[in-house]
Symmetry: C2
């Protein structure tokens, strides 16, 4: 829908989230127009980096002026594909799964969790945030009925691959994997790994090397 040329660096996509966050905070502060220089400072990146990142998706600025904050937020949202709602399911209703189900921010950002699945009979029937936990057998019908494209995977590591298989089989297009295990899926299915410790490890490493 949005890509001007062929390949967009993964790093660019990651930075777009940052720009969006900073621009939203600026908008809340009433800033209407911003140029790449100050925006770069606020995002802690290089100014031409921002300009280059943006031109992968179009020309959003006005020479001699800068970017309109509201329009740029819209343009980036459209570029990322988050200018509309996404239906999601969650598989694995443990502590983390429950926490995510109860967290309303996902819905507020357009990611609606419309199904919660588990194969444990003791969990089936429980309710979180108005959503009843359902047997994994019924995953496929639910995904088809509600045009679900994203699955949150929150099982223990040893069950991650099996859950991933279920999601793929159900026709999911992307998996947000919170389980501490790699999973293997067909190339056309996208996987993102969420690891709560990875940032903590980076901090530990960076602090450690400083002292040496």
């Amino acid at each position: 829908m949005s890509t001007k040329s062929d390949h967009i660096p993964r790093a660019t996509i990651e930075r777009l989230s940052v720009y969006l966050q900073v621009l939203e905070n600026m908008q809340r502060q009433g800033i209407e127009v911003i140029s790449s220089g100050p925006l770069a400072k606020a995002c802690d990146v290089n100014a031409s980096q921002i300009r280059k990142d943006l031109t992968y998706f179009g020309e959003f600025g006005v020479r001699g002026v800068g970017y309109n904050v509201r329009e740029l937020i819209q343009s980036i949202s459209r570029s990322l594909g988050i200018d509309h709602q996404w239906n999601c399911v969650l598989i694995g209703v443990g502590n983390l799964g429950k926490a995510l189900l109860s967290h309303r921010e996902f819905g507020r950002r357009g990611f609606n969790i419309v199904g919660a699945f588990d194969c444990d009979p003791f969990k089936i029937g429980e309710e979180f945030n108005g959503l009843e936990v359902v047997c994994t057998r019924r995953l496929k019908e639910r995904v088809a009925d509600l045009n679900v494209r994203i699955g949150f995977l929150t099982t223990p590591p040893e069950r991650a691959q099996r859950a991933a298989n279920h999601l793929v089989e159900a026709g999911i297009k992307g998996i947000l994997n919170y389980a501490p295990a790699r999973i293997f899926v067909p190339a056309e299915v996208h996987v993102e790994y969420v690891d709560f410790f990875h940032h903590l490890y980076s901090l530990a490493f960076n602090i450690s090397v400083d002292k040496t």
Copy 2:
């Protein structure tokens, strides 16, 4: 302590977390020796990438054989600086802060949250996971007393910078910033940003481009 040469790519550090995760799962399965080929497959990276990453920190393998899983886990842990306990504080006891305080996995991994701070008088005195919420004014003494080096920042975005200033002032060396805002700190203080939406945005983007 651990760096053989001067500069280690940030990407290498991020991959070490992945290797560690995969190696721990292998160890649980009883695998004792692994060579870079199969390890690379399991981590979904290139084999020489793994070998090069490891040589930044030392020579951990045996030619013709491979790596001892247990020893490699230890070596990577030591390289990352997570072979010992880290005391941490948390500032901003909102929903997310409470969730993190109640989550025992951090302690299990060696990151002990030994203080919870907030400036809201209604929150001070509340208790989570056996930890009493304390006024931010007392942050500095606590950090000094317990040799705390890492701070979890879980305030709303508009209070993130002020909280960051408190942490810096208290002598913190690294900040794990969960607030959806950039923060600015002296160069010697490390910051890692945790953004729950960034992976979701990447998925949305990748799924969207597929369809075009």
